[in-house]
Structure formats: C-alpha cells, structure tokens
C-alpha cells in the first residue's frame, strides 16, 4: 500500500538541496506554530498551500513560479492583510504580514541567501511571540526553537566543512550558555524607562473577564472559566474571606434587563476609613479593559495616569493589554458618600416606567409593611432567604421583564439575578441603589503566600445609600447562599461543577501541585516579566547600589560591559599566549619595534635575513651592527650550537641599537 503511494508520487529525483530546504522549512514552521492562535484563519491556509506547492515542485522537478506570479501573490497577500486589519502597522498586522511572507517566501527559495533570509524571519517571528505571550512555559519552546534556528544557520554556513547537525546544536548550546551571563547582566542593569515608548504595543481584539455592562447570565457564564483574573500579594494581614470584595465596575443605568455604567458625571465623595487598612500588590492579567479590581474600598494606589471615578471605580489610562502590577491600600470598613447630590440621587433611583410592574407592586407593599429603609432592606433579604429561591449556575431563561420573571416565576438565579432584583426593589421605593460587579473571595496559595482570583470568582452585589451611613454594600447572594461569600465560589457551586474539576479540588496532592505550579508561574510573572524600575531598584539596593537613576544604570551597564570584555580579552590573551616565551624572539621583537620607528617595518612574510639586509641598506651607517645582530639572531634561532655567549651578545646589541 505504502509502496504504491510512493510510486504514485513519481519521485523523479531527490533534490540536491533537500536537506537545507527541509531544515529551513521546519525552522520556519516551528516559529509559526505559536502564532497560530492569533492569526486570521486564512493565513495558515496560505502557508500550508505554499508548502504543498513547494513540495510538488520538488517532487516533480518543476520550475519555481515565475517573477510575475510571485509578485502577484505577494500583492494579494499584502492587500488581504490590509483588508483584515486596515493597517500594515502594529503588532497584529505586522505579525500576520510576516507570517504570510514567510509562507510564500518558500515559492522563491532556492539558494543559501534565501535560506538565510527565511531563518532571520523565523527569528523575528519567535521574538514577536514574546510580545503576545510571556508565560513561563513559552520560554523553553522559544529557546529550543532559537537553538534549532541557529544550528540550521550554522549548517547553512559551514563553509563546506560539513558540520553535523548534532555538532552544530552542541556549539549553539555552548554559545547560548556563554551568552547567558551577558543576558543576566543586561536583564538586571538595563535601564527600565517608564513610559509608553517602552511599553508593549497594545493589541486590539477580545476583552476578557467582566464587561462594563451586566445582563442576566453574564456572570454565571464567567464562573465556568478557570482563567486567572489577578493575583494579590498582601503586605501583612489578609482580610477575612467574607470581606474580600474586589470592586471593579459600578453600574447605574437600568433598562429593565441590562445594567450599564453611568454616562453622566457624579459628585465627588470622600472616603472615611473606620477600620484597619490593608496594603497589597495586584498582579493583573491582561484583560483589554481599563478597570482595575480593588479591595472594597480603595484609599491609595500607585499607577501612573490612573483615575478614580466618584463611585470608586479605578481606571487605568490604557486598556490593560499586558501583565500589570499595582500597589493599593484599601479598607474594608469605611464611610463614604454621606452627601448625595440630586443628580446622583436621580440617577440611582431611575427605573424604566413600564418594565417589571409586579416588582414595583411588591416593593410598594413590602415598604408599606416595613415602614423605614433599613427594615425594608432586611425584609427583602429575608424574603430571598426564606422563600423558595435557589442559587444555581443554570437558571431558566428570563423574559422581557427579567426581574418580574425571576421574582415570581423562576425563583432560581446566580448572583447577578439577586443583585439586579435587589437593586430594582430598592429603587422602586426611592432608595438610591446601584449594582457593583467584581470578584469575591480568591484562593489562598500557601506556597507563595498570595491570593489567586479567577474569573470563576466573578460576582455582583448591590450598594444602597442610607441617609446617615452613605453608601453601604449589601450582598443579596449572602442571604440565599452564605457559603458563596464565606467559602468561595467552589464551595457554593460544587453540585454544579463538572466531575473532573470536582476531583481536582478533592485530592490534596493534585491541589498542592496545582498551587505549586501557580506559585512558580507567579514568581515568573512577578520577578521576570514584571521586572520594572521599582523591582529593579529594590534588587539593586539589595546589592548595595542605592542610586538607580537610569543614567547611572546605563553607565554601570557600560562599565560592566567594558569590564566583561576586558576580562574576556585578558582570558583570551592568556589562552593564546605562546606557552614558552623565547627570549630570542623577544629580542627580535624589540629590534623590530626599534626599526619600526625608523619606518623599517617587517612584512609578516619576511624572513630575518631579508629583513635585516633591507634594514642595513636603508641605514648604511649601522650596517655592520645590523649584520652582527643578524648573524647572532640567525645562529640562535635557526642554528644548532648557539651558546650563552651569543645570546649575551645579541641582548647587548639590541639594547645598544
């Protein structure tokens, strides 16, 4: 069977450069592989088509496509990229263009120069991958691919010495190891300038995590995701589990189904701290969103150009397209927003007039029974607790009047249903209320002493404004499912979880392995990827270098390099120094040095006899002296029975000269 296939391929000849072609192509494919997830689907198709075309050409000894055809394909490829991205610039379009060009370059690759270009493109693609993904597991892949590319390059340029692939790989590894100290030096000392110029280019594309609006089903969708939203490292005590509310987005406007952010400005309210303060460092995964989840409520933070909105949403200047670290101080016991402006009150009591009529009716009835705001709030929470409400990830679909449907028909929902219904019930009786989305809880990693907050921990709750207390957080989910708040999302949802994930949390060793891996990853992110100017400063001060202005750093870098190369120079001089320093040779060199001053320079291939005769002609006055030197030197260096006396004589002659 196989034989027939082979025969049907009709291999006419085995191409002479097959080995180079195969090696180079595999290098390019290796470099393209990590880009597959973020390339438009048609680009891999074109690359594969080019590859197949090239293979066909090789198998049938056909000619490569001519110049016009190749140019045509290149123009089509370029305009397709332009159509998709509307630019040829930027990370995504640039990578796409580079990938597609690497693919169609196969159609004109024929000599060493082309192979070399392909390998350089491969290098470029490998480094571009770092702009997308700086995770730890990527590093070995990139390193291995780089080694592979370099070895291939070495093979291509072996100058006919036919180095084996194994030797080439060995030598490249050696080179990489030799370069490692330099890389380390650069990593530590290279000045980290702050500013947009040094930042990674921001990427368009999908956002992840919470969005800035909330409809029923949004948060429950998120809780299926195991992706990490951020990690928190506390400087000191951790707040208790039920106080870990990570505030991200505050939603004010409601259309009967969906909650949105406020479109108008609000007055400023001051935060008054009445409990302990927590200081922590957030390590935020890229979300392509501007909001930053902070422990409810934030007091101070260090992030350039960030802003805080009056409803205490912390926003970064740019969407977070890369790993970001922020140090924040928060308090969990506070008083905030005691004065409420009329505009704000109007905004936070606004409800669509026609939507959810039964809810309005229920609210009026319950408020009449309760009499005052606090009693009313408690009775609503009691209602959630006592009646047949249930907490589930898979609630029934809700109709147009989503809140009515939830409160009177389905009685089943996730946190966003409860937060939404609670807020509507408050607003229906004129109590200012709003929905806050963010995260609640987080898994403590005892190996790395930090908290992991996943998308699965996404949460929604309410805030109500009370005349004497300002804005107060009320979490209606705590009323229906207190374990959600006390023990985390996993505890609350264990019944709904897929089987595999449930086992994952049950076995202790799997759990600790998981946490260990995450600790390692966090270390990588915090100390390698996020090695910014402040990290650099703290490391340098540990090393005893206190001043770390970037100019000083640059200077010390230069000095370190000079020292390194000087050291290398010394080592190499020592290594290639002739082992036995012949005093005769030394004297001859001294003489040459002296003659050099008289413009009589020995050509490298000139023997002593010719040279010194020439010198004698050039300087007739010293001809006899030079002849004597010549005889002595020749006797000592090339003769048989040179004695110490001749040596003495030569030394004297050269000295006198």
């Amino acid at each position: 069977m196989q034989l027939t296939v082979l025969r049907s391929l009709q291999i006419k000849y085995w191409p002479a450069n097959a080995r180079e072609l195969v090696l180079t192509t595999s290098v390019v494919l290796l470099a393209l592989l990590p880009h597959l997830p973020h390339l438009p689907f048609w680009i891999p198709l074109i690359i594969v088509a080019s590859l197949l075309w090239r293979i066909t050409i090789e198998l049938h000894a056909a000619a490569l496509p001519n110049k016009w055809l190749r140019n045509g394909i290149a123009v089509i490829a370029m305009s397709s990229v332009l159509r998709t991205f509307h630019t040829l610039n930027g990370l995504e379009a640039g990578t796409a263009l580079l990938s597609i060009m690497a693919g169609i370059k196969l159609l004109e690759t024929r000599d060493h120069r082309d192979y070399t270009i392909l390998i350089f493109i491969a290098y470029f693609l490998l480094f571009a991958e770092l702009l997308y993904d700086q995770s730890m597991w990527m590093l070995p892949y990139l390193l291995a691919s780089t080694l592979f590319s370099t070895a291939t390059l070495m093979r291509l340029h072996d100058g006919g010495s036919h180095i084996t692939y194994r030797d080439a790989l060995k030598r490249c590894t050696q080179m990489a190891l030799q370069a490692a100290p330099l890389a380390l030096l650069l990593f530590i000392f290279f000045p980290r300038l702050q500013g947009q110029f040094w930042a990674l280019p921001s990427r368009g594309g999908a956002t992840s995590g919470l969005s800035d609006e909330m409809s029923p089903g949004d948060v429950s969708q998120l809780s299926l995701s195991d992706d990490i939203a951020f990690r928190v490292e506390f400087n000191g005590e951790l707040p208790p589990m039920n106080q870990r509310y990570w505030r991200a987005v505050v939603l004010h406007e409601f259309d009967g189904r969906t909650w949105r952010r406020a479109r108008m400005g609000l007055g400023i309210g001051a935060v008054q701290k009445i409990g302990p303060m927590f200081e922590y460092r957030l390590l935020l995964e890229p979300s392509n969103q501007r909001w930053i989840p902070v422990l409810d409520v934030p007091l101070q933070w260090q992030l350039p150009n960030s802003i805080i909105l009056p409803d205490l949403q912390l926003l970064a200047a740019q969407p977070l397209s890369q790993l970001t670290s922020v140090t924040v101080q928060s308090t969990t016991q506070y008083r905030y927003g005691l004065q409420l402006s009329n505009t704000a009150r109007r905004l936070d009591t606004q409800l669509p007039v026609t939507a959810n009529p039964r809810t309005h009716e229920l609210a009026q009835r319950m408020y009449a029974q309760a009499g005052d705001d606090v009693t009313y709030i408690n009775s609503v929470l009691r209602m959630f607790n006592h009646e047949t409400f249930s907490y589930t990830l898979e609630p029934a679909k809700l109709g147009t009047n989503a809140v009515d449907d939830f409160l009177f028909n389905t009685h089943a929902g996730f946190c966003e249903h409860y937060a939404s219904a609670f807020t509507v019930l408050m607003r229906a009786v004129g109590i200012p209320a709003r929905v806050v989305t963010g995260y609640q809880g987080g898994e403590y990693n005892s190996l790395g002493h930090y908290l992991i907050v996943r998308q699965a921990d996404a949460h929604a709750w309410s805030e109500v404004w009370l005349a004497d207390q300002g804005w107060v957080r009320i979490d209606p989910t705590a009323a229906i499912a207190p374990e959600r708040v006390n023990d985390g999302s996993q505890a609350a949802l264990s019944g709904n979880e897929p089987l595999a994930r449930r086992y994952l949390h049950q076995f202790a060793w799997i759990n600790s392995a998981r946490l260990g891996w995450d600790a390692l990853n966090t270390f990588w992110k915090k100390h390698i990827v996020q090695f910014d100017s402040s990290e650099q400063q703290s490391l340098l001060s540990k090393l005893g270098i206190d001043s770390s202005d970037w100019r000083d750093l640059g200077l010390s870098l230069v000095i370190a390099f000079v020292l390194f190369f000087f050291g290398m120079l010394l080592y190499l001089t020592w290594k290639f120094k002739p082992r036995r320093v012949d005093p005769v040779v030394k004297l001859y060199e001294q003489l040459q040095h002296k003659l050099k001053k008289q413009q009589i320079v020995r050509a490298v291939h000139e023997g002593p006899n010719d040279y010194l005769k020439r010198a004698a002609i050039a300087q007739p006055s010293r001809a006899t002296q030079l002849k004597e030197i010549r005889d002595a030197y020749v006797a000592l260096r090339y003769g048989l029975n040179a004695d110490a006396q001749t040596m003495q004589r030569l030394r004297q002659l050269v000295k006198e000269f």
Partner: protein, 315 residues
Amino acid sequence: MNAPIQQDTSSLNALHTTIVQLNKVILGKDTQIRLSLACLLARGHLLIEDVPGVGKTTLAQSLAHTLGLSYHRIQFTSDLLPADVIGVSIFDRNDSSFHFHKGPIFAQLVLADEVNRASPKAQSALLEAMEEHQVTADAHTYVLPAPFFVIATQNPTYQIGTYPLPESQLDRFLMRIELGYPDATHERQLLSGQDRREFLHTLGATLTLQQLLTLQNQVQQVHVSPALLDYIQALVRYTRSSTKFVAGLSPRAALALLRAAQSWALMQGHIGVLPEDVQAVLTAVIGHRLVPANDTALNKPTDIGHYVLKSVAVP
C-alpha cells in the same frame, strides 16, 4: 659558528665552481641553475616546464656534463612503449636463453624530454622507476645506478598533442621550474656567441661522484630548528585551510619542502635552514602540487607560490 657544513669545504667549493661553469652555458638563469642543483642534492627529480627553445635540454645536458654523470636521453613520443624506457629481454641464440638488454633508464642522469608527449603507459614506466629506484622486467628486479636523477621536460599542457601528467605523478618531482625567456642582455650575448651545444662539449666535469654523494649526505645534516619547523607547518596548514585550493599540501609535500630548503641552505652556506631558504624553494616545490580552486585568479604555479608565501607570516 661551526656548523657541520664547514667540515668539508672542498665539495662545497667544487659545487660553487659548478654553478659558475653552468652559468657560462645557460645565460642569466642563475636561480634556475641553483634550484636544479638543490634538487639534485636533495635526491629529488626535476621537472622543467616551458615553451620549446628556451634551453631546457641544454640545461639538462650541461648538468650531466659538469657533474660527470652517466647520461641518457629519452625522447618521449606518443608511440613510446615502456620497453623503450626500461629495456627488453631478447632471446640469445648462442646460449638459448633470454638476456635483458637495459633500456635508457639505466643511467645516473636521465633526461626525459617532452615527457607529456608520451602515452600514460610510457609515462608511468618512467615515474615508477623514479619512485622505486629500480625497475622490474620479466619478474626480475634491476636496481638503478646511484645517484639516480631524472630531469623531465614538458611543454605547457595547453599545447596540442600532450598527455598532462596527473597530480599524483607530478608529486614525484621534487621541484618544478620554468626557464622563461632570457632578458635582452643575455639574449644578445647568446646571439653573438658560439653555439651553446658545442660549447657544452668543451666543459669538463667539475664535481666528482664522491663529492656529489658527500654533498647529498650533508644536505640531510643541515640543522633544522623548531622555529623553522613551525614555519613549514604554518605554510602547510595554510594551504589546507585556505579555500583557494582544491586540496592542501600532503605530508610528503611538507617533507619535500624541508629537504629542498635544507639543500638550498647548504648551497647558501647557512648555518641552518632559514625561512629565506624555504621561501627560495617554495614556488618550485609547491607550485605543481597545489590545484587552485575554480574561482581564484591563481592560474600559474608561480602565482600559487607567491600567494602562499605572502599569506603566511614568518614566526
């Protein structure tokens, strides 16, 4: 400075007389004459390559005369057979047995004229004799006289009707020299003077066989210092690593270079071999042993010699 060469100055003096005398016959070719003698003293064979009429044969004949060696000349033609070189067994009717009649190869100095006009078969008969110093005919081995010195002349290989010697056989020649055209002064002298061939017969032997053998032994005793061996190794290493040549010099070539340099040093009266001695014989020794790579501008053996010389530093 009592180097061994000073021990027997008589043979050395005789050698210098020889050089003077040869210079009277072959005008203006002092270097080539010295190289030929150096080649002979180093017990190597000599290849002279040049266009016809520049005095190749005259040089060979004068060498034979002045050195007092028995001399045969073989004119190589395309129909020359190995038997014409080595000799042949002839049936003798008197005692009803075969007797080997020695061919022209049995002489102390053999001039193989226009060696590249003969077929490879005849060429190899000569070249084998050169290497082994003996010939084999009818399962009988005959030792060639000592000293045994072959001077082969050949026309430039681009000429019609030539069978170029393969590299492996060129290697058998210690040196390869070119005579070249004489300069104007010497050519005038040549034109106005008497016939060179006749002048040749008036020359007597200036070197006895004993002196020649002594000199040959002395060559091997010329001191070679480690510094000089470094230089020779550097030269050889260079030809092996350079991309200008198809292949580098063999150890045999290195040895040949050393012998030739020793011989030259002896003639110059140096106390040991100097780098200059190596350089003097370099072109003659390596010019025909290196094949330049295709894309180099090194076409002639002299270019090759100069190129290698300039490229390697004297340690």
